[in-house]
Every structure is written in C-alpha cells, then in structure tokens.
C-alpha cells in the first residue's frame, strides 16, 4: 500500500533521515520504534508532505506522492495523528472533528462517521460543545484520533499516541487502534512504548539516527536480544 524508498529529509542543513526505506501492506499494523531524535516524527512528516524528502520516493497505492502537497496526500487517504496531539484548543470538540473531515463533501457520511467516533469514545459526545483545550490529555488523544478518522483514511499515521498518558488510558487507546485496524484501516504506529506497540503490531521497524537498523515480524522483534535490551529495558 505504501512504499518508502531511500528517503533523505533535511531541516536546513541538518539531515534527519539518511536513506530510509519501509513498506506497509494493506490491512497491517506496522510499528516504527526508536529512541528520542531517531527521526520517527520526521518519517511521518515526510510521508504527509509537511517536510518533503529531498531525495527518494514515496508511493501510495502505486502513485508517487513525495512531491504532492499535504492536502493532496490527505485527499488520497493518508491522515496523521501528530505527536503532541495538536488539537485545536479554541475550537469545540465537534468543530475539531469536523475539521478532520474538511475535504469531504458527503455531509451524510461525515455525520455518520462523527456518530461512529462518539461510539468509540463516548466521552467526546458528552464534551462535544466544550473547547478542545479544556480536555484532559487522554481525552485530547481520543479527540486527535477521532478527528483523523473523520477524514476516512485508508492509512492512519499515529505519532506516539501513548505519550504522557496513564497506563489504563494507554491500554484503552491501543484497543481502539486495533479496532480501527479491524475495520479496515491500515496503521503505521510510531511509539517509544515498544512493548505495547510490538504487542499489537504485525511487523516492526527499528530506527536509529535516521536509518533503519532492524525489521521483522513484531513477535521476532519482541524476542530480539538487541531490542529487548535497548527498547524494552529487559535482560
């Protein structure tokens, strides 16, 4: 579904990605793990066209997307839940959700998907007239995911959805990610919480300073001695 081939992404003179390649098949949950500053966020932002790669190619459903604008990429079916949630603090919960469906013209479909988000996250229904900025961290994460679902993505990019959340909330969020995937949405999950991410993912990639160092089925990575010591804090 998505094929990233040898991308190099820069911030001014600083090179954040040094020839990264990865592949995601339709229906998968793929996780990308790595330490702080490894380039995980940059990878997602490169796919979304916010920091387009200087070199390399990204194809989505057979189409080259690495030179397209972010809104074109969103309209093709790639939506991101960014690191730190980035909800709109002074828009209501409902307005936040509607912004997720900004490019859609099917009003009835948007209504139905809004309902679906309230079913996944009942707390958002209660808070729908409240300003996004007044929600708790966990609720904001739910809102950020719900907002992305309103775009009806084919591929959902999630950047550290567990960041700063209590373990129970994280579990809830991860269950919902699995549910979203079961509904037919392909997922690329960036996480520092490697344990949890590898438990729900089908395959995983390990990123170190802009390069991939390991890849394989999630189960194999969970048992990999290098991963266990560096990312799981075990052994």
């Amino acid at each position: 579904m998505l094929e990233v081939r040898d991308i190099h992404t820069f911030y001014g003179n600083i090179q954040a990605l040094r020839g990264l390649s990865l592949r995601i098949e339709a229906g998968e949950i793929v996780t990308l793990i790595g330490a702080n500053g490894a380039g995980k966020t940059t990878t997602l932002m490169s796919i979304s066209g916010v920091t387009p790669p200087k070199q390399g190619s990204i194809t989505f459903l057979g189409q080259e997307v690495s030179r397209l604008s972010t809104e074109r990429i969103v309209s093709l079916g790639i939506t991101q839940v960014p690191e730190g949630r980035m909800i709109f603090p002074r828009l209501t919960v409902k307005e936040n959700l509607l912004m997720g469906g900004y490019l859609r013209r099917d009003k009835a479909g948007v209504r139905a998907d809004e309902e679906r988000v309230y079913e996944l996250f009942p707390v958002l229904r209660e808070r729908r007239a409240q300003m996004g900025g007044t929600l708790s961290g966990g609720e904001q994460q739910m809102l950020a995911i719900g907002r992305a679902l309103l775009a009806r993505p084919k591929l959902l990019l999630l950047d550290e959805p567990s960041l700063g959340l209590a373990p129970l909330v994280v579990e809830n969020i991860f269950e919902i990610i699995q549910q979203i995937n079961a509904d037919g949405v392909t997922v690329l999950l960036v996480e520092q919480n490697a344990q949890m991410a590898l438990q729900i993912a089908h395959r995983g990639y390990v990123l170190e300073t802009g390069r991939l160092t390991l890849e394989g089925p999630a189960k194999d990575l969970l048992n990999d001695p290098k991963v266990r010591s560096a990312y799981l804090g075990l052994d």
């Binding site: 972010t70 809104e71 980035m86 002074r90 828009l91 307005e95 900004y102 490019l103 775009a151």
Partner: protein
C-alpha cells in the same frame, strides 16, 4: 453636548472597527501586522470614486470597489508576504511598510496627491438631513447608513468566521498551522480568503470615511491605519470581537478627548490608548495572555 459627542464617536468607532478586523484577522493567521492595510482602506475610497465617475450608482460602485480591494489584498499577500512566510518576522514587517509606501505613491500617480471631495451627486439628498433628533442631539441619515452597514458587515463577518467551513478552517489555522495542513486545509487558500475578507471590510470603511468627511487623499490610510491598529491592540490582537469592541471604544474616547481636552489632542488619544494598553494589559480586552499563547 456629551450625547452628541457619543453619537459622533460611535460613528467613527464603527469605522475604526471595520478597519481593525482586517489587522486582527491577518495577525491571527500569519502573525503579521499588515501595515499596508491602511492603504487598502484608502484604495476603497478612491476606487469607489472612480466607479462613480464612470456613472455607476453608489451601491454598485461600493460593491465593485470592495471586490477590487479584496483582490488587491490577496495579491499583496501572494506577491509580497507569501515568499517570506518562513523568513524571520522582521522581513515581512519591513516588506509591509514598503508595500504601504508603494500603494500610497501608486494612488498619487493615479488620482493625484491633492485631496478630492466625495462626489456629492452620488449621494441621495436626504443623507445630510437629520433622521433622529432628541433635544440637543441629532443623528443624520448618513450616520444611520454607516451604523446599519457597519453592523451588518460585522454580524455577517462573525457568521462567516464562526459558522462556515472556511471560517472554521481560518480559526483552526490561526491556532495550529501544521495541524490545519494535516487536516487537508489548503493553508495558502485560507490565508488568501482572510486577506480578501479583511480588505473588503477596510474598503467599505474607506468609502464611509470619505463620505462622512467629504474628502479623500492618498495618505489618508496612514493615520486611520495607526488608529485601527491601536483599536485592534486595545481589543486584543487576534480577536475579532475584540477588534470590534476596541474600534468603538477608541472612536468614542477620541471624540470625547477632542471635545473635552482640546481638539489638537484628538490623534494623540489613539497613541495614549495604545501605550496604556501595552503597559497595563498587553492582551487587550479579549486577547489571550501571552503566557497562555506560548
């Protein structure tokens, strides 16, 4: 006399408010103080004049001038500010001052540098007549027209910003540009829309002032711009209802200041207000505190 000053101040204040919303909306989306906005206001007056001299009736002339200035506002952004979007803020600010000077001089080339009267023949005769009279206070028809137009425009603007898809995208963009882009919002198109909206409002303000004082001149945008900017700061820069409130408050303060202190102090009031706001309440009436914004 006091009541009459209030009526006159309110009239002036609504006009400032119409200009101030343009400053505040643009600041909201790209954090730029668009110093050329006063010139957009001036062009509104002159373009209306040109349309009238081509034989168009007043309402149509104003409408055309609004559309033309909206287009000029968008062009200003595309040509002068968009290339500097990622540059240090000072670069765009200096460019804005440059564009202001450029537009003033362009107007001098086209319409001459001397003040021109508003074409009276385009106005209905009853405009100058009193519409309401309570003992000492008179409100002219022209003032009524200014009230109705300004209030209608501001109500309309608020509806656009709070109820429409593009208006909501505008607010979203002002709050987080990256997130807005990730939602599929075409950031540049929404910024253009913001410039168009603010410029159209400013143009109407220009027409109303030139009609009210029966004069227009290429440098008229300078002082009006400074005052409207002060109104936007007073209301809390970035807040549209704040700009409306700030405009009215400044118009009344200025008229009372001129009436009760001395009329040469009229223009000083705006500066005094701005300095006081910056010292005592930098976030203005309705602005968010800087701490919260960080």
């Amino acid at each position: 006399m006091f009541e009459q000053q209030l009526v006159n101040g309110f009239t002036l204040g609504l006009i400032y408010a119409l200009i101030a919303v343009g400053y505040t909306m643009v600041y909201g989306v790209i954090e730029l103080i668009n110093f050329a906005h006063g010139e957009i206001y001036m062009l509104g007056a002159f373009l209306t004049l040109s349309c009238i001299s081509m034989g168009l009736p007043l309402p149509l002339a104003v409408l055309l001038a609004m559309l033309a200035t909206a287009a000029i506002g968008v062009l200003l952004d595309v040509v002068a500010y968009r290339p500097l979007r990622e540059a240090p803020r000072l670069a765009a600010l200096i460019t804005a001052i440059g564009m202001s000077i450029f537009l003033q001089n362009l107007a001098m080339i086209i319409w001459g540098s001397r003040p021109l009267p508003f074409p009276r023949q385009a106005l209905p005769a009853f405009f100058a007549e009193p519409a309401l009279r309570f003992s000492e206070v008179t409100v002219t028809w022209m003032q009524i027209v200014i009230y109705v137009t300004a209030l209608a425009l501001m109500v309309g603007l608020n509806l656009v910003i709070t109820k429409t898809r593009t208006g909501t995208a505008m607010r979203a963009l002002a709050q987080n540009r990256t997130a807005a882009a990730l939602m599929g919002i075409n950031v540049n198109r929404v910024i253009s829309f913001t410039f168009a909206l603010g410029s159209g409002m400013g143009a109407v303000a220009g027409v109303m002032v030139s009609m009210y004082y029966n004069t227009m001149y290429p440098t008229m945008g300078y002082l009006a711009g400074v005052k409207a900017f002060a109104a936007a700061v007073l209301g809390g820069i970035g807040s549209v209802p704040g700009a409306m409130l700030g405009g009215v408050a400044l118009g009344i303060a200025e008229t009372l200041g001129a009436g009760y202190i001395s009329s040469p102090y009229r223009d000083g009031v705006a500066y005094a207000v701005m300095i006081l706001v910056i010292i005592f309440r930098p976030s203005g009436f309705l602005g968010r505190s800087m701490v919260e914004k960080a």
